[in-house]
Symmetry: C2
């Protein structure tokens, strides 16, 4: 059994049982993988894949179990390298963040600036994507951290920690009727065309729930992934914008009126997620501490030990103190 063979198995599974795709991903030849797979199966004495003719159709029961262990092994092998790098070159490395537009544009810049100052030799890699993409990237180790407000709980492998709370703001053109209403309610809001985030982004689901809870049908005429696009169309007069309040800047957006909407919608919480069992290099822990100072190293190391997602959530609920607002 060789580590190389285990990598092959992992990659074949990852690419829907295509040996060719695995070969491309690993920059090697397809016959090489085919042969090594056979050799491994011969050594183990069981086929890992069911075949129909020359195609791999699915994992055998043995394969199912073995692939799980293989993944663990490969993760640990990677962890060995990470630990080594932390000792040999602790201030140098790569930090990969997978996040959404909202975080990248409004929440992360201060933390990134501070982090970069502390670790000038850490290359920062920022991948933008939808929450499900982000979660997948973290779960598969393509990114070290996923940072988003939505949909990160779908991978048991991900440890999720709350970073900060935030509320929403309404964005209006000056002179809009709502601007003269003091403390507008959801019912007022439902009368006007609305512009907000696409479903699945930046707490959109909590927004919908608020309306639904009052039996209201909001008239969302335009959705976008980011607040910049939303602002653009608010400026064009297409409707009332509802954005994360961090996305409003008194200076840059002084041509628009912002009204805090904290009383209308329940606050949202942005989380940071990372793969359980993945060794966090020193600067990675420091990044978390920089971005969310209430998350201490001890807590992170403890929560990583907990196998059950439910227990993890309970532990977090109990031990993470007050989560700050942004």
């Amino acid at each position: 059994m060789k580590l190389r063979q285990l990598h092959f198995v992992h990659e074949i599974v990852k690419h829907d049982l295509s040996i060719t795709a695995a070969a491309e991903a690993l920059f090697t030849s397809q016959p090489g993988i085919s042969k090594q797979l056979r050799l491994l199966e011969d050594e183990l004495g069981v086929p890992l894949f069911e075949r129909s003719g020359k195609h791999l159709t699915r994992l055998t029961p043995a394969g199912e179990q073995i692939v799980q262990i293989v993944d663990r092994v490969l993760l640990d092998v990677d962890n060995i390298s990470r630990v080594a790098k932390d000792f040999s070159d602790g201030n140098r490395g790569v930090l990969s963040l997978a996040t959404t537009h909202t975080q990248a544009r409004y929440a992360l810049p201060p933390a990134v600036t501070a982090f970069k100052k502390q670790y000038p030799d850490v290359t920062l890699n920022l991948h933008q994507g939808s929450p499900p993409q982000i979660a997948r990237m973290a779960a598969e180790g393509e990114a070290d951290f996923a940072i988003a407000t939505e949909a990160l709980h779908h991978f048991d492998e991900l440890v999720m920690l709350p970073c900060y709370h935030w509320n929403r703001a309404l964005l209006l053109r000056p002179g809009h009727p709502l601007a003269s209403v003091s403390n507008p309610g959801l019912k007022d809001l439902a009368r006007y065309p609305l512009i907000t985030y696409t479903f699945g982004f930046t707490g959109r689901s909590q927004l919908d729930q608020a309306f639904k809870a009052q039996g209201l049908q909001p008239n969302v005429v335009l959705t976008a992934v980011d607040a910049d696009v939303i602002k653009t169309y608010v400026r064009l007069g297409l409707g009332v914008g509802i954005i994360a309040n961090m996305a409003y800047s008194a200076e840059e957006d002084d041509d628009l009126v912002a009204i805090d909407a904290g009383h209308l919608f329940s606050r949202s919480t942005t989380h940071i997620g990372f793969r359980r069992n993945q060794f966090l290099r020193d600067f990675m822990v420091r990044f978390i501490e920089t971005f969310a100072p209430h998350l201490k190293r001890d807590l992170i190391e403890q929560v990583i030990e907990i196998r059950e997602p439910a227990e993890r959530r309970a532990f977090v609920a109990e031990h993470v103190g007050e989560v700050p607002a942004l």
Copy 2:
């Protein structure tokens, strides 16, 4: 990084940092290991061992951490083979038991017989040793199971499950003064020379505690590892024997008088221990069920998941029902 290199590191550590000893254990040449170790250290960018001249003196801090992960990797690699064998040849394999004389001689034979009948193609390996030796063997994977009454709790890596309770019996020559005392107490016992187990064997510690609790100083004139030796000297008239009651046979020992001593000493519990994180082949789980029918597969698989020894004990205390007497 190659699996072979990780094996080398593991074995060097296991053999007190002697490369020569590791080479012998792995049936390979010493320069080969030396070179591969250097290559690995170069690849990782950190030395794993501190050296004084040409001698390895100890692990570096990086080495400490990395060796832990290496051990996990090697265990998982072994688990891959085990899972594979379970599928390719589920009824064939090797079951290694490490146990004491008392268990091997009196407790195990029925279970072994039944197991052998069910799995005739499983080679049974029985290693006899002292409780600490037994525990070490299981903890290092030299044996699949450790079965003993004493001193198995010293390895965090070992999962311990209670198999059965047992009590003690007094052994006397006919005509001994104690034979005519009805319900003798510890105080009576303390008056006569005693013959029992060596310290660290077969619940000896509980025996000592019972005397100590009453402020008595037992006069132990002879200790042995096994009941057969104890019986021999009881027959020679050297003293009163105190043995596990399972070691008394009404037929074979009809020249001696046995008195149940369940009221004198607190009962002892024999445990079975196995390495956490080690995949248990199907027939191994079946062996546990054969030896201790109250330990079900589900329970075994659950308890294996628990990382903390303390939590494990709590779980066992709660979920293992009544432990039978032998």
